[in-house]
Amino acid sequence: MVGIVGYGAYLPRYRIKAETIARQWGTDPEAITRGLQLYEKTVPGQDEDTITISVSAARYALRRAQIDPQEIGAVYIGSESHPYAVKPSGTILIDALGIGPNVHVASYEFACKAGSEAMYVAYSHVKAGEMKYALGIGADTSQGAPGDALEYSASAGGAAFIMGSERVVAEILFTHSYTSDTPDFWRREGESYPRHGGRFTGDPAYFKHIMGAATALLEKSKMSPEDFKYAVFHMPNGKFPNEVGKRLGFKKEQLEAGWIVPWMGNTYSGSSPTGLAAILDVAKPGDLIFMVSFGSGAGSDGFIYRVTDEITKVQDRAPKLREMLDNQKTYLNYGEYAKFRRKIKLND
């Protein structure tokens, strides 16, 4: 049995309300909260980035797994906001957590699915028998241009998953990836903010790829939507994951536990991974979980997990995602937010 042996998530404590952003740009707040189903989002502190978020999430994953960090053979961090263009984020994380130096490290990038890519490869290493444990992380301090629709959703957070074959808390039963050349969202080298194709990001991109991966995963597993207790899809806004769930035949009750986007925002590479962490926080032995990520460009990674008896032993060993989401919030006004996100041009 190969799967997740430890998981952890981390969200910064700072928040900005969608209403605050809307008023700044003279937009109707109702249109955002009702149309996109976004109420507020997380904002990284001035001293937080993808690396510090990854370290916090991975520390919680280690606390749950209770393994020797030296036994981790690979560390992969998926993000579209790696602090360095050249120097893998994982090099700093391994030294912070006492992993390595005998370890394979890489940074992954695939828009919002870089985190599930990291999980996918970490899982594959363990399944192939190449190593005892491997760590896959999805984390971001997402970028959204001032005044753009993305500014209401682009948030910060991440989740870490240690894959192994002993004391597995969620066995991975099936995986499937679905990818094509679809220019729905991109950021060119040296640009500060991503660009997107507006409505083109919907049917030809998000829905096509998630449905492609999900349909293949259901066929491969010979399962149907009603077999699952929980499902989580990439969450660019509140509306899309509900809509794709409905199109695939999932019910609202199956999506609720992982549907954290209205109060967290889109943590890009951390989106479906943090949703999965929220589900694992409340899952019971025997539950089946259906997960499909989406990364613009475009592609989706799908996973089917079966929760084991071990889950109840680890759930309380580290903070739960909903606790971080609902408590200890510090709200920012737009000026503070612009300063925190370094949107104000300063002298060098």
Partner: protein, 129 residues
Amino acid sequence: MITARYHREIPQRYRLEAGKCLACGHLSFPPRLVCPECKAKKFETVTLSDEGTLVTFTVVRVASDKFSKETPFPVGIVELNGGVRVTAQIADANIDELKIGQKLRIVFRRIQDDGKAGILCYGYKAIMA
């Protein structure tokens, strides 16, 4: 260029590694070559607790150029469980709520950078537990 010094201090700044004197048990943080208590020269590496108590603090309102955009920010002396005291910035803090004696937890944060194109420096800060 701060690269060499930063790299040398990684075990302390990232993982709170201290030197425990094999003769008298005194903890030195950062580690020393000679024990300040018994003058012995043999140590073992131990990792300090990431939990502690706020001993005292001040609020920096006029900072050096590198930290001037983060003001006001508190800096405190934290007594970690086990007795070692460290000086650390207290992150995410509501200054009005900070109180001597309160419980703190050490976290991993970005400390500074070596200019726009230089390295990023990470290390420990404290947050309210």
